[in-house]
Symmetry: C2
Subunit: 351 residues, 2 copies
Amino acid sequence: MKILLKTLALCVMAGSMVAQAEPLVIQEQGSFSAGGTVITAAGTFDAKKPLEPAGQTYHGDHASVFYQIPENPHTYPIVMLHGAGQSSRTWQTTPDGREGFQNIFLRRGFSTYVVDQPRRGAAGRSTVDATLTAKADEQLWFNQFRVGVWPDYFKDVQFSHDKAALNQYFRQMTPNTGPFDLNVISDAMSAVVDKSGPAILFTHSQGGGPGWYTAIKNDKVKAIVAFEPGSGFVFPQAEMPAPMPSAFDTLKGEPVPMEQFMALTKIPVLIIYGDNIPDKPVAMPAQDSWRVRLAMAREWRDVVNKHGGDVTVTHLPEVGIKGNTHFPFSDLNNVQVADVVSQFLKEKKLE
Amino acid sequence: MKILLKTLALCVMAGSMVAQAEPLVIQEQGSFSAGGTVITAAGTFDAKKPLEPAGQTYHGDHASVFYQIPENPHTYPIVMLHGAGQSSRTWQTTPDGREGFQNIFLRRGFSTYVVDQPRRGAAGRSTVDATLTAKADEQLWFNQFRVGVWPDYFKDVQFSHDKAALNQYFRQMTPNTGPFDLNVISDAMSAVVDKSGPAILFTHSQGGGPGWYTAIKNDKVKAIVAFEPGSGFVFPQAEMPAPMPSAFDTLKGEPVPMEQFMALTKIPVLIIYGDNIPDKPVAMPAQDSWRVRLAMAREWRDVVNKHGGDVTVTHLPEVGIKGNTHFPFSDLNNVQVADVVSQFLKEKKLE
């Protein structure tokens, strides 16, 4: 009996190991740039004076994309746009070394397009100059991303306490190589979905704003899943929300013409926020900033839905999913979070 | 008979289509950072003043890596380091949309690790500040990378004349986000091969120098294939070559202690140069710069081999492979170039 149980345990272990080790079958993968602009310097190029800009060109402000198409993919690929200080790596391996949403959704049969937005990562050529400084700021991010209040982790936070995980987390940040420009980014993202074909758009944080504008600019965006959008909520001029002050900043809506706003009423939208967001004002800037962002998302949901839209705001603790940071898609329970997303995609017939 | 031939033609077509469309079977894939350093600002962090650097950290100068492990891989993975102004995208889709060396060598059974070196691409956090300017410079690169002499392509150049290909080519460039530092890069590359395990290193152009230093620093580098190394040739102090003047610059060797130099005699090295490199001085800087680089590579080969090394310099036109640019691994005939590399790896028992 003891041997039988041991054998059984080994089989279960072997089973879960096989499940983990199931290979990805990729029909096609590669990279490309999309969108962007070209600057041409006045004058005539002289091949003997190659360091003179005269007559030379400069291609910049494009997005850079790595895509993978699994065998027999679902109709719509998923295009994934990172947040502030991040790149396509946001969606890859988690800080503690597990699979991120790139692999998880490939395994669930979706083509994935992970993007570096214009002026970030591999899409570094910016048409506007920039100065980059090595400013120490990681305790700010630890707090702002709701891992905890430095040096303490939130109780039961879905983030590994392993030092190596924090090292990887900080090192996955990468700076702007030019000014953040919502219009430049949404233009390039629109070019990305022209290349991918009709797609589901995942956005994170600062990527939320460019995400709404991408859907306004291109009806190939068939749905949006926005993780913790931090700004850029667009409202019709006549229905602008009152500014929302917090201990961090004052959050405002952004006015757009009604016909632009209406584009957002035509597609299903899921907005997901994690845990440790207070519901009443608190003195800590990092927490209080998310209080007003969640409140703004709910106000936005109500206005879009009033105009016939289909926006859901899921505050994860309210559906029993606890401890999530600002990065629910790479938190320790990211498979559970992926299940929430999959359920949404299934309900909206996007699988 | 006509029908039989048609059927045969269809079968051949179907056969080649199937060959193209063969899926990649990936046992594991993901991303990580390797190496780097940490700066800590003096003082004590105050969570209420998160924009003050006091007491905060900054992780920078690491490499960023995307890796893929196929089913039943060869013993040694291939670590791929880009050249100046490039990123890991160098090894991915070619400018004209075909598979690059990442896919080609995955298909040939190698795990691949494509790297963004410190201060480039997704590894953007530099511990040293930088100013980035949108300087028009692409006709310089068109010439320097030996696509042609702008606006003319070299006759029979292995580069698509399609405008879209040139657009992608220019847009795959991405700037330094901090000063180029051979020591910082080779430190991070050494950390990459610690993570990958004993590996074959592919380098390109400016990556050549850091490649030699990586092998000096870490004996897990089991072989190097250097595509058109442009600088950083290391020699024993007593055997430094004479400086080599060209219409572009004066190329010099770099002195290293004998025991460091000797590390490069312990591993097989293949150096590959493409076409349109003159063998006598010419006035055009772009061409003349490569004349001295090829000459320096040959001198380096002779010195390493004199000390018991195993360096081969393959100038592709000399083995009948014509029209290659500075990017043989993404040129139109890159499968043929991959065959040259595979032959080398086979001979050196590295498959």
